[in-house]
């Protein structure tokens, strides 16, 4: 589904990704872990088409198609979703209006008809309830005045409504208390399916207790230095990242 090969990228002349390889197949859940500044967010932003980075080498393919040539919105229409680490505020635009504009834009790009307004609203409300999201937030401006937890749940709501093929969740767990974490994880788990892949970018093992990954990758200084199963996350929790770096140096 997603194939990243030898990806190198820099920003303002500083190399951030130094050759990343990653293969993700439908139905899989991957966790990308690593210390601050290792390039985790950069990787997901590049996959989604953010222009602030210069891709200097390598390729990113999605279902065989060269992703790097596509504008941001077309990648979204192909079914790629990014859950933002810091969700953006849009004053004056109601949350529901925004969601509907997003859904209809994606549907239009796929040649599908617009969703009926009443059906849409029912659908959104049902999902919001599942996420224990205050329904009043649906009519408030996008993310404006939302608490940290509300913003993150709102991201998951958008994901549930857009039903992407590939969801990249960038530090969705940061700023969540344990109850919110459980609710968010349930939302994500509800979307797990044989056709869909999920990539969870996180600092902490905590989230992976709830969203159990098939693979754990450790990204450090722009390279994936280790890949393992879910037990790798537990090992990292116990021992930190230091031992991996040493192991890498000795290798």
């Amino acid at each position: 589904m997603l194939s990243v090969k030898g990806l190198k990228a820099s920003v303002g002349g500083t190399e951030i990704l130094r050759g990343v390889d990653l293969e993700i197949r439908p139905g899989e859940v991957h966790a990308i872990m690593g210390p601050n500044g290792s390039g985790k967010s950069t990787l997901s932003q590049i996959i989604c088409g953010r222009q602030d980075y210069d891709v200097t080498e390598g390729e990113v393919r999605f279902e065989g198609e060269d992703l790097l040539q596509l504008p941001v919105e077309e990648r979204a229409a192909r079914g790629i979703f990014l859950g933002f680490q810091y969700p953006i505020e849009i004053p004056g635009v109601s949350n529901t209006y925004f969601l509907r504009a997003a859904v209809n834009a994606v549907r239009a790009a796929r040649g599908e008809e617009e969703m009926d307004a009443a059906d849409f609203l029912r659908h959104v409300r049902a999902k919001a309830k599942l996420l224990e999201l205050d329904l009043a937030l649906l009519s408030r401006p996008v993310n404006v005045g939302f608490s940290g937890g509300e913003k993150k749940r709102n991201e998951i709501l958008q994901m549930m409504i857009l039903e992407p093929k590939l969801a990249l969740l960038d530090e969705t767990d940061s700023g969540l208390d344990i109850d919110a974490l459980r609710v968010v994880a349930e939302g994500v788990n509800a979307l797990r399916s044989a056709e869909r892949a999920i990539v969870v970018v996180t600092h902490y093992q905590r989230l992976l207790d709830y969203i159990v990954p098939d693979y754990v990758h450790v990204l450090s200084a722009g390279r994936i230095i280790k890949t393992g199963g879910k037990e790798l996350a537990l090992e990292l929790e116990e021992r930190g990242y230091g031992w991996l770096l040493e192991e890498k140096l000795q290798a």
Binding site: G49, V72, I88, I90, V93, A105, V106, Q158
Partner: protein
């Protein structure tokens, strides 16, 4: 500049939609401005002596005035002698039946999307359409007359209701008021007149449509609206002009008079030709709009959406004379290319307990300059007066400017005056967020701008609000950077 920005900038140059002109033989009087011209205009319209005298007084006063230069707009001096002060479609349109109106004129209004034909008007908007200088047809006149409402062209009002016109003309904007208002008083050719009798709620929205078609013609219309005690009217005004290389002058005067417990809601969507990307052509829009809340508990609400004109110089104002009277000003001004807008309002608090609200939303794109200029003045007797002003600016790109000039003066210690101002930019983060959710850049910008303007759009009548939203979207196509 990121690639995203560049794309946005390229998007910015959507062409003016109403840039066509109609080939209609026009009757014009000789070029230039003189006492003789003032007399000719008055004679053409068969005006009574008192009105000619008033025009001549204005003209004499005008001779003493100099063009004001205090606003933050720059343009070459306007050659007043190079303009035509009267231009009418040659076949004097008869107003009894649509069949008698030049079909080309009707076609023009069709293109503009004005439902001039009454069968299309079940929605209930009465339209007075002003083409260059002459009011072409007022629809729904009969139905309004039943309610006692007078809605007609200014010329008709002079003929049919001279006492009302005489009583109120110049009573809010005297002919000595300012350079452009004085010029208008001397040479105005037509406009609209509305009178709502005591205790009457006007049964439909009233609407005027202005279009400047003829080359090198100035448009000087006057609007006078009087709401007697307990009356209510909602009045809409729309404007377009064809695309010309030269600048055309528009200097209108609008006067509103509101008595006890009465209300006028005045909405404008102004989409005059803004000029091309290099700033060639476009309308110079120098307008004086003022309303007097003379009665107790009277109310005037100005709502404007300004996207056109090369230069906009316009300050719809309220004189809050009656105790507990209310003045409101809601404005969206969008500038792009080389447009310059200097617009805002004046709220003059005279009566006790008077209240005013100002919400101004300025959006600047391209190389445009967008200024808010507002004055809130509280006189000695205005005990307990309140004002809340909110001026927000949104910048699109790096080459435009937004400016705010609030003047606040209070002679009353009990007055409560609040002023808030913000300036923001559509951020790359916002655009990326929207695009990641599947929206195109244009749709995202349009959505963000509409969100920014929401408080003002909420004040517009429903169909107008939709129009205004679309107009902004069109004006913004490719405007971002």
């Amino acid at each position: 500049m990121s690639d995203q920005n560049k794309e946005l900038q390229e998007l910015a140059s959507k062409e003016y939609e109403h840039g066509w002109s109609t080939e209609i033989e026009a009757e014009r009087i000789p070029k230039g401005l003189s006492e003789e011209i003032v007399r000719i205009i008055s004679a053409k319209k068969g005006e009574p002596q008192w009105l000619l005298d008033w025009r001549l007084k204005a003209f004499a006063h005008f001779q003493k005035l100099e063009e004001p230069r205090w606003s933050k707009v720059s343009y070459p001096a306007i050659d007043l002698q190079g303009l035509y002060y009267y231009s009418a479609p040659k076949q004097e349109p008869l107003k009894e039946s649509l069949d008698e109106v030049d079909p080309k004129l009707l076609e023009t209004f069709d293109k503009l999307g004005i439902p001039l034909e009454e069968q299309k008007q079940l929605a209930g908007v009465a339209v007075d359409a002003v083409f260059d200088s002459v009011s072409v047809r007022t629809t729904f006149r009969e139905k309004l007359a039943e309610a006692g409402v007078i809605f007609c062209s200014f010329s008709d009002a002079v003929r049919e209701h001279p006492d009302l016109v005489k009583k109120y003309l110049g009573s809010v904007v005297p002919y000595t008021d300012n350079y452009y208002a004085t010029l208008n008083s001397a040479v105005f050719s037509d406009g609209s007149f509305v009178y709502i009798p005591e205790g009457t709620r006007c049964p439909m929205e009233l609407s005027t449509y202005f279009r400047i078609n003829d080359q090198k013609s100035g448009q000087f219309e006057r609007t006078l609206i009087v709401a007697e005690a307990g009356a209510y009217v909602s009045y809409l005004e729309g404007c377009t002009a064809p695309q010309r290389d030269e600048n055309q002058l528009h200097a209108a005067v609008v006067e509103l008079v509101v008595l006890d417990d009465a209300e006028i809601k005045y909405s404008t969507v102004q989409n005059w030709y803004p000029g091309d990307e290099e700033g060639r052509g476009g309308i110079y829009n120098f307008v004086t709009k003022r309303g007097a809340c003379r009665g107790r508990n009277s109310k005037i609400s100005w709502t404007q959406v300004e996207t056109g004109s090369a230069i906009t110089w316009k300050y719809p104002s309220c004189l809050l004379q009656g105790d507990y009277s209310i003045g409101e000003f809601y404005s969206v001004a969008l500038t792009r290319h080389a447009q310059q807008a200097d617009t805002g309002t004046k709220m003059i608090h005279i009566g006790r307990g008077t209240r005013s609200t100002i919400v101004s939303k300025g959006i600047s794109a391209g190389r445009s300059q967008n200024s808010y200029r507002g004055e809130v003045k509280v006189m000695k007797g205005a005990i307990g007066a309140r004002n809340h002003s909110q001026c927000d600016s949104l910048l699109i790109g790096d080459h435009c400017g937004a400016h705010t000039f609030p003047y606040i003066e209070s002679q009353t210690p009990t007055a409560v005056l609040e002023h808030e101002a913000t300036t923001s930019k559509i951020s790359d983060d916002q655009l990326f967020y929207c695009r990641q959710r599947g929206m195109s850049e244009e749709d995202a910008v349009s959505m963000i701008v509409n969100g920014f303007c929401k408080e003002v759009f909420n004040e517009l009548p429903m169909e107008f609000a939709v129009e205004a939203g679309k107009l902004l979207a069109v004006s913004l196509e490719g405007a971002v950077g």
